[in-house]
């Protein structure tokens, strides 16, 4: 291994380096020492630390143990001496100056321990910095730790170390380069800014992605040191953004976020690449990228809920306030809006949603949260739901994670309650939860409450009220109050429950209940004078000021409901007035004022008395209030016009309070952010932009190569390839010459053996080394080349071989071109299948070179024939191997023996592989392919002319698609009308609507001239008639095709009895029933014809029926299994009625249309 070798050599270099550096360092130190004595340097710092030190000394002295005692004795010694004589570390200095690494190491360890405890070790700087070039790696590392910590304080001395790092930047070992850059950029000394800038620039175009990653890390460091450099740094960021490695992506986006988050234009060209790379980026990078892309998407795409947002808002309103008319208006408005602007999602928007979705399964809570917020802010409403499950899963995590997740869930539940409703019980509270978690869970439960689940929630709440945790009980009572205000049905129940709590022994509970009851009563006071009376009685016992104040307010507000009690209460309160809390006093004054206005006869004197008391109160608020109220209510000559309106002022009808969540409207902060958590803008928070009104130009994301949008990933991969030499300069593939004379550490022997057949051994060994560098997909290519090689070999050996003939004729030229083309196809992300059969053979050959050639030939010949079923198994094994190669390293060897026996979950695969071994022909295997019968309509997928000789037709075979029962089986027939063979027929790049899935057919290796072949693929159309778009690729061309299913093919027959049918039909009435009158066509003379017509239109089965005048059919949709019931009762004279019952109304409507057409012909 080269790195190892280099490392072993390193000390030799390092020794020289050390000598020279030490020489320099010492020289300089001597020169500087008069100025920079250890004593004078760190004075400032010392002052800062002094109190801290004293504290420790004290704690050590008093506690006897304190901090010091836990330390190792050796350390302790050193530290106590530090504490008592802080500026003398003579022993350490001595050790650092010694020649022995072990002593140096020990000294450094002690120094680091000091730093870790916050002790000052800055006076050792000169002694430590000398060791920066020490050859011992650990000493070196610890010196780095020290340097980074103290360089800022000892700028001049720190400069001594710079030259070491500059040298390190040029080291042949990438890790040394990276580490040098890391430390260099961490030394916060302004004077080296130009050096850093230069180093970063250089590192940004380093061969090694690891060094480039370090460069990305260094950018924010430099930026914070000297913001002047911003423009130059942005250039570097731009450059690194274009980098194609996953290693760099996270770090550079981080740098982007820190240096120039507003330069969104830099992202355009890299957007698709970032989306595609995302899944392979390390966890932390994923979080940063996702957050950045969220912001990006908000500026670049249209709101996917543009048509729904209005609807949603209005329905939300309807829930709280029942303002129906306005509601109607808005709905109508929204509806018109919807009609006006049909929303089509930008494919790039879709790309982002699709590529982030699997990350919901990450083990890292931060990643899951990042995806969740992305979906919340960007996804169409219907799709947001998928995040709920993942978020609920996080609730099992550490309590801190729970805390943050619950905060975000609380915000989400306000906007999208339905999403979390199925997980209601996951928010139930355990007595062992920390209080802060309990309260957040309560918040969520309250937000989730609605008419249907309120009874269960209230039952839960009842148990909570008995908890020992009083804060939690108080929160529970508030929660009950909120449920009661929001859900009218349970208001009385809640109120009764709360009233019962008034007799609770715990005062806090009672007080909280009073406060909540007050709010509830405000909504309908007339009916509840009993409760008010009851509460009036309570006032003698309740001491909690807030509760007392609430009761007084209630009595005052509704004094006409309790005319007898109110004056009495006032009398009692007047007695205790001076001892009350301010808040109670204010309410006493209020009560007095209101009673004076309504019942002045009884309360005039009392009021005077209270106001007099208040006049001399210590609190100026109370004095003010008293003065103000006296002027208002007691008519005097001087009193102005206002006193006439006193009654109106005091006894105005007050709107009931809306008890709403504190999490309302928090979603204007980006979820998952610190600002959202604090509900306040944190420094450096990037606002989540509003959706743009009109769509910005989507073409900005297109990259130079015009067909980028069609084959993003392919380009991507290609780029990767060219960038390969970055991996290591000496290992680069800059040509046969270089690799030939470079270290002979090329890979496995078998490869180099086979390489002798290739044109030059140079390029081969270079390739095998590429493999050790384990680029993504490299393996594929490698194999591909091998395969090609094999082919060539076979060709060379057997020129007459049939399958090789055409290629043979075209010669090397052709081969090169072919390889390129194949490479492209191979690397395409979606279907990475290549002609598996031949490949696996090649591999087996690779394994055993001795294998007889004739055998190979026979198998070669067979491959084009035995196509259909073996492919399923092979696809499996193929996939296996290819994914492996995604991750593989040098010592990967194909395991052809084990690969095909991968457990495959769909039928007959193992059987098929057996069959394959027996070399059966397709005659026997034919039954799995359903020959298109006459009744099944064929559709054209690719015309002979557009397909350049390749004609493709498809039909819906109406067979269940065995690998996935939720997919519609589509049978595809390829016909090769050219006179040369077409190879590697496969599917690439499906462009699907959300939720749609494709299971591709296995690649067709070779389609000989004039032949045709039929394969079956599965498509999950998600019960929509949206077309599935994809590319059909041959070895030379790609064709865009799409399959759009007629609605009738989206279903599969089910067999129901007449009773079942009626029962099911009964469930699907109303909106789900679509009925249409029609006239039967001339030919629809009897039942038989009708049945035939209907079943031809839709894949339904007939349901037995007693009457002859009625035909019934039943089926269910393939994807979601919704029942589809069709009834056609005929009447006299060709009239008939068609009824379709289906939960999916769209399906029903379309089906009615289609059947109508079929029947009326």
């Amino acid at each position: 291994m080269t790195t190892m070798q280099k490392l072993l050599q390193l000390p030799v270099n390092a020794v020289n380096m050390v000598k020279s550096v030490q020489g320099v360092a010492q020289g300089q130190e001597e020169a500087l020492s008069p100025v920079l004595t250890p004593d004078s340097g760190p004075q400032n710092w010392y002052n800062a630390v002094q109190p801290e030190e004293l504290r420790h000394l004290r704690s050590g002295g008093t506690g006897g143990g304190g901090e010091g005692s836990e330390d190792r004795p050796g350390l302790e010694e050193g530290l106590t001496s530090v504490q008592s004589q802080p500026l003398r570390h003579d022993d350490l200095k001595e050790m650092l100056d010694s020649n022995k690494d072990s002593l140096k190491l020990e000294a450094m360890k002690r120094i680091v321990a000091m730093i870790a405890r916050g002790k000052n070790a800055s006076d050792l700087f000169p002694a430590v910095v000398k060791n920066v070039a020490c050859k011992n790696i650990e000493v070196k590392k610890l010196v780095y730790v020290y340097l980074v910590r103290y360089a800022e304080e000892q700028q001049d001395l720190a400069l001594l170390s710079i030259s070491t790092f500059q040298r390190g930047l040029k080291d042949p070992n990438q890790l040394i380069r990276a580490s040098a850059l890391r430390v260099l950029s961490s030394i916060r000394v302004t004077i080296i800014v130009p050096i850093m800038m230069l180093a970063i620039k250089e590192a940004a175009s380093d061969m090694s992605p690891y060094v480039r990653k370090t460069a990305a890390h260094a950018i924010p460091k430099l930026h914070s040191l000297d913001p002047e450099q911003k423009d130059q740094l942005i250039e570097v960021i731009e450059k690194l953004l274009a980098d194609k490695t996953t290693l760099v992506a996270g770090s550079v986006v981080m740098a982007f976020e820190e240096v120039c988050p507003d330069r969104i234009d830099l992202i355009h060209k890299n957007y698709r690449k970032l989306c595609n790379l995302l899944i392979d980026v390390e966890e932390w990078g994923q979080v940063v990228i996702i957050n950045m892309l969220t912001r990006y998407a908000r500026t670049q795409f249209l709101n996917p809920n543009i048509n729904e947002s209005l609807l949603e808002e209005s329905s939300e309103k309807a829930f709280y306030a029942s303002d129906d008319e306005e509601d109607e208006d808005k709905k109508a408005e929204a509806a018109t809006l919807a009609k006006r602007k049909p929303y089509v999602m930008d494919p790039d928007h879709r790309l982002l949603l699709r590529n982030t979705k699997p990350l919901l399964q990450s083990r890292n809570a931060a990643v899951v949260m990042a995806v969740a917020q992305l979906y919340f802010h960007l996804a169409p409403k219907a799709e947001v739901g998928i995040i709920a499950k993942a978020l609920v899963r996080l609730m099992r995590s550490h309590s801190e994670v729970q805390y943050v997740v619950l905060q975000n869930v609380a915000t989400m539940t306000i906007k999208r309650r339905g999403m979390f409703e199925p997980y209601l019980k996951s928010f139930y509270i355990r007595s062992t939860d920390p209080t802060q978690i309990k309260i957040l869970k309560l918040e969520v439960l309250t937000n989730l409450a609605n008419e249907t689940n309120i009874s269960t929630i209230l039952r839960e709440f009842q148990t909570y009220i008995k908890s020992m945790d009083k804060d939690f009980v108080a929160a529970s009572i508030q929660a009950i109050g909120r449920c009661a205000t929001n859900i009218g049905e349970v208001r009385d129940t809640c109120l009764n429950g709360l009233v019962q709590l008034l007799s609770n022994r715990d005062e806090l509970v009672v007080a909280e209940s009073v406060v909540v009851i007050k709010k509830l009563l405000q909504m309908q006071p007339e009916q509840h004078s009993d409760i008010i009376k009851h509460m009036a009685k309570l006032i003698d016992n309740i001491q909690v000021p807030m509760a007392r104040a609430s009761i007084l307010w209630l009595i005052g507000e509704y004094c006409e409901h309790v005319p007898k009690i109110a004056p009495d209460v006032l009398r009692n309160m007047a007695k205790t007035f001076t001892n009350e809390e301010d808040i109670v006093k204010l309410q006493i004054i209020n009560l007095a004022a209101k009673l004076y206005l309504t019942n002045s006869k009884q309360t005039k004197l009392l009021t005077q008395y209270v106001l007099n008391l208040a006049k001399y109160d210590q609190n100026y608020d109370i004095r003010d209030r008293a003065r103000f109220i006296r002027q208002l209510i007691v008519p005097t000559d001087k009193s102005g016009a206002l006193s006439k309106y006193a009654k109106k002022l005091f006894l105005a009808l007050k709107p009931a309070p809306v008890l709403q969540s504190t999490f309302k409207d928090r979603d204007h902060f980006q979820l998952g952010s610190l600002s959202h958590l604090l509900n306040a803008k944190a420094a450096g928070y990037q606002e989540l932009p509003d959706w743009p009104e009109s769509v910005p130009d989507p073409s900005v994301r297109n990259v130079e190569i015009p067909d980028w949008s069609k084959c993003t990933s392919r380009k991507d991969r290609k780029e990767k390839k060219t960038e390969k030499p970055f991996y290591s300069d000496s290992e680069g593939e800059s040509g046969p010459t270089e690799s030939a004379d470079s270290e002979s550490d090329s890979g496995s022997g078998s490869e180099s053996a086979s390489a002798s057949d290739e044109s030059g051994s140079g390029s081969e060994s270079e390739e095998s080394r590429e493999e050790t560098e384990s680029e993504d997909e490299e393996e594929d290519e490698e194999k591909e080349k091998k395969r090609k090689k094999r082919l060539d070999k076979t060709k060379a050996k057997k020129p007459a071989e049939e399958s090789a003939e055409s290629e043979q004729s075209s010669g090397t030229e052709d081969r090169k071109r072919g390889r390129k083309a194949v490479k492209n196809q191979k690397s395409a992300s979606e279907s990475e299948s290549e002609s598996e059969s031949s490949e696996s053979e090649d591999e087996s050959e690779e394994e055993s070179e001795e294998e007889s050639e004739s055998d190979t030939d026979i198998r070669k010949k067979k491959t084009p024939i035995s196509k259909q079923p073996p492919k399923q198994s092979k696809k499996e094994s193929k996939k296996e191997r290819q994914e492996m190669s995604l991750l593989d390293l040098d010592d990967f060897e194909p395991a052809p023996a084990s690969a095909p026996v991968t457990p495959v979950n769909f039928l007959s695969s193992s059987l098929v592989s057996d069959l394959e071994g027996l070399s059966l022909t397709n005659n026997i295997l034919a039954p799995t392919t359903i020959a298109p019968s006459g009744s099944i309509k064929m559709y054209e997928l690719l015309h002979r002319i557009t397909g350049e000789g390749l004609a493709v037709e498809y039909c819906f075979s109406r067979q269940p698609f065995s690998p996935d029962p939720n997919m519609v089986a589509v049978q595809i027939q390829f016909t090769n009308n050219t006179n040369s063979e077409t190879k590697n027929l496969h599917i690439e790049e499906p462009r699907l609507q959300s939720g749609m899935r494709i299971r591709e057919f296995t690649e067709i290796d070779v389609l000989a001239a004039g032949e045709s072949v039929t394969v079956v693929m599965g498509i999950d159309f998600c019960d929509s008639t949206q077309a599935a778009n994809f590319q059909l690729c041959t070895h030379t061309r790609k064709f865009f095709v799409s399959i759009q299913p007629p609605v009738g093919e989206l279903m599969t027959p089910v067999f129901l009895t007449e009773n079942d049918f009626k029962k099911e039909q009964g469930k699907l009435m109303g909106m789900n029933e679509i009925s249409e009158k029609l006239m039967l066509g001339e030919k629809c003379v009897n039942e038989h014809v009708i049945v035939e017509r209907v079943t031809a239109t839709a894949n339904l089965s007939r349901v037995p029926c007693g009457s002859e005048k009625e035909c019934r059919f039943a089926g269910k949709t393939v994807s979601s299994g919704c029942l589809v019931l069709v009834t056609v009762p005929t009447k006299e004279g060709g009239a008939a009625q068609l009824t379709v019952n289906c939960e999916k109304m769209l399906i029903g409507t379309l089906l009615v249309k289609d059947i109508m057409q079929a029947l009326s012909q």
Partner: protein, 432 residues
């Protein structure tokens, strides 16, 4: 926000600025700064919050101070307090801090104040590698172990004698591969792969014994010691059970999506392969039932307690390690009980009653019965304490999940493979 003070002027954005480790007694015993030093006085805000919270659990994970934000976690009786200056996803920091704690645990066997202090140099080196300028750099245990070798007793002895170091002499290759979690050149004489399927039942049962809420939290912990670069595929007999899963980054999402198999190149050593969650209540078997009667009398300041535990749905396996924990109301002074099996202990300070039963014998059900004495004069407690159950069932995954097979590709040797199933009680609570 007020204008940041002068020391911050050059500190633009940085994710995690500093880290302080604080023990339960409030001693700050380690600090690490990734940029310029932030005075430890910033922790005063934390101490304030800590005091207010009473319980360490209740310290808010995010504390706002005038110039900084403190994001902290509490783990193994240590507070990890990080200082943040600018907007950052809080979970990012929390998750990272947990990763730090896990790394310590991994390195030193446990993550405690004393081990951290004993290994302060390694801790520092680890922190240095894990964060660069506040941004996570190397957090995978396999890479870290290549950079910094974990201490072992033997090696620390050898090191003291020979003066050699803990730092790897060679530099890691891991960062350079596309498999950041696996180190290259792994060699074992015995190639083994063990998988522990551990399921925890989270449940809330109400007074009458009906299930209010139940779900299963499962994890598959792996210990893989295989040479070279093995590519493993783990398949289940009944993968449909697994409704909600999360994976170690080594697992290929797409294979799971399409085939419901777990295909991965494993990290070397111990790791958690996946976790899953089964929330459908009808799938969750409740292995034991509890009959309880706890009552407090209005007069005489005493109470009665009577708890019986019996087997419910144990799938024919023995329930072991049965422990019942009761958090008593504050007024309960002592308990005078009689256990037919196992031992009980009431701690009058924490008010926790622990009844350690051990193995559950279905023939003779364990019972704990007796009287509680309350503080005289205090009103009787309103609430009844809930019971927390702990238990263990060996050789059983309560959800019925079964591993079908493990296949290895990419290497030629035959590994030894083992799967173990354990069911435990998670947050299993009986309300009374």
């Amino acid at each position: 926000m007020p204008v940041l003070d002068i020391t911050l002027k050059d500190n633009a954005l940085i994710m995690i600025h500093s880290l302080f480790l604080i023990n339960n007694a409030g001693d700050l015993f380690l600090e690490k700064h990734w940029k310029s030093v932030i005075s430890r006085s910033v922790c005063d805000y934390f101490f304030e919050a800590r005091e207010k919270a009473v319980e360490p659990d209740n310290v808010p994970p995010v504390i706002r101070t005038p110039h900084h934000y403190l994001i902290n976690i509490y783990r193994e009786k240590i507070f990890f307090v990080s200082v943040i200056q600018t907007e950052v996803p809080p979970l990012f920091v929390i998750e990272f801090l947990h990763r730090v704690a896990e790394t310590f645990q991994d390195y030193f066997g446990e993550c405690s104040e004393s081990t951290i202090k004993d290994n302060v140099v390694i801790v520092y080196e680890l922190l240095e590698e894990m964060l660069d300028n506040g941004f996570p750099l190397a957090t995978e245990s396999n890479i870290l172990k290549e950079l910094i070798r974990p201490p072992t007793i033997l090696r620390s002895m050898v090191n003291t004698i020979t003066g050699s170091s803990n730092v790897g002499e060679t530099l890691p290759t891991g960062q350079l591969s596309t498999i950041p979690w696996r180190r290259a050149g792994v060699k074992y004489t015995n190639n083994e792969a063990y998988f522990d399927v551990v399921e925890e039942i989270d449940a809330i049962l109400d007074k009458s014994g009906t299930t209010v809420f139940a779900e299963i939290q499962g994890v598959i912990d792996a210990c893989v010691k295989l040479s070279g670069m093995p590519d493993l595929t783990l398949s289940f007999m009944n993968p449909r059970l697994l409704d909600d899963v999360s994976f170690h980054p080594c697992v290929r999402y797409k294979r799971w999506e399409s085939e419901r198999v777990i295909s991965f190149v494993p990290p070397d050593g111990n790791f958690q392969l996946m976790s899953y969650h089964i929330s459908a209540q009808n799938l969750v078997a409740i292995p034991v039932y509890v009959k309880q009667n706890i009552s407090f009398f209005e007069t005489g300041s005493s109470g009665r307690l009577d708890i019986t535990v019996g087997p419910k749905q144990t799938m024919g396996k023995t329930v072991e390690g049965l422990v019942v924990t009761v958090h008593m109301p504050k007024v309960v002074l002592s308990a005078n009980l009689n256990a037919t099996q196992g031992t009980y202990n009431y701690d009058p300070v924490t008010k926790i009653l622990v009844w350690d039963i051990g193995k559950l014998n279905p023939q003779k059900l364990p019972n704990l019965k007796g009287s509680l004495s309350l503080q005289s004069g205090a009103p009787k407690p309103e609430e009844n304490p809930s019971l927390n159950i702990d238990l263990k069932i060996q050789q059983l995954a309560i959800s019925g999940l079964k591993v079908n097979r493990l296949d290895m590709y990419g290497e030629k040797y035959k590994p030894f493979k083992g799967v173990k199933y354990v069911t435990k009680a998670g947050k299993f609570q009986v309300r009374t």
